[in-house]
Symmetry: C2
Subunit: 207 residues, 2 copies
């Protein structure tokens, strides 16, 4: 039997994408599912909805709660949490660099390093030098990766990912999309997405 695939759409500015990225490979392995790492940008999709910044910045009480909840979520995973300043970070370059890397483990490694730097250590991941250093440390050639990230091929590939996310109805991150198009939103829906991909549809009997 072919292993079911779930697309993991993540945005580097997205807070809950951080714990999701850190645990998704292990959770997928446990579930017997393959993860396709799909970096994308929420900015154009938020703009569709008339939003100009993170929804968490627009509603003070909701934002305060989110940071507290994220503290609980990352704490339970043993992950450090630092609030990046500014929030959200500009993630265009990071997303292009991740897109430029092949999805054979290198993209996941780089993406986890970006999240750890941003939300674990509070580093400015909009800074090309910070991103290049992260790639260098993984043996991924930061300088060359920066050049590649600026090519039309990579820019267009990232735009295509945003369009694909939009076509699936994605409106936030992280989002998980099964092969049949079923959409799941949020770090806390990861396991349900994997179960769905394996054909374990929820029903009255599962209640």
């Amino acid at each position: 039997m072919t292993q079911p695939v779930v697309s993991f759409f993540y945005e580097f500015a997205s807070t809950y994408s951080y714990p999701a990225a850190m645990r998704v490979d292990e959770a997928a392995k446990a579930a017997g599912v393959r993860v396709a790492w799909r970096p994308f940008l929420l900015g154009p999709i938020f703009a569709d909805a008339g939003l100009t910044t993170s929804p968490f910045n627009l509603n003070r009480a909701k934002g305060d709660y989110m940071w507290r909840d994220l503290q609980r979520v990352t704490g339970a995973l043993g992950l450090a949490l630092t609030r990046p300043d500014p929030f959200p970070q500009n993630t265009l370059l990071a997303a292009r660099m991740a897109t430029a890397l092949p999805d054979d483990g290198r993209r996941a490694d780089f993406s986890r390093a970006v999240y750890r730097a941003e939300f674990g250590e509070g580093k400015a991941i909009s800074d090309p030098q910070v991103l290049a250093a992260l790639a260098d440390r993984l043996g991924l050639g930061g300088a060359a990766l920066l050049v590649q990230a600026g090519t039309d091929t990579v820019k267009q590939a990232l735009r295509a990912s945003v369009d694909e996310a939009r076509s699936h109805g994605v409106f936030g991150a992280p989002s998980f999309v099964a092969a049949d198009g079923e959409l799941f939103w949020g770090n806390d829906r990861m396991e349900q997405a994997f179960a769905w991909a394996k054909g374990e549809k929820p029903g009255p009997a599962a209640g």
Copy 2:
């Protein structure tokens, strides 16, 4: 040992409050926690954040996802789901009637009946006659309850609940508040709220 108490803040217009209300007593019993049923209104709290209707109506993609996700969630619990028209319903009277009832099982019974009528059967729960009939069917004296719901005592008690929810940082429903003030938002955070109330704080060791 005194049984830990968790306040369950629910709004009758809130979609995810429906599955939460239907399962909260059973889940609390299993966890060894007592639930305080706290009907409140989101309208004044949404107004604080500049919102004039349900956030699900303001973002089309998010709203579409929410109804699909709610279908999965209620399906897994064996609950019927019908989209009320209009959505959201005006819930002022229902919240006052629930507030007027004592929290000794009668408030929970009436509240579940309101949710079942609204989201299970698509009934207009803004209609006093619909609400009175629901109360009558439970032996709760619908006509008298309608009168009681209109008293200043009940109106003020509901306003006090909204203020208390706001003071805890509540911005959506369902919300769960532990005795120490810790806030959890969403049907899918219910179990974490119960664990917190019992002193099971998440930490690196729990990851």
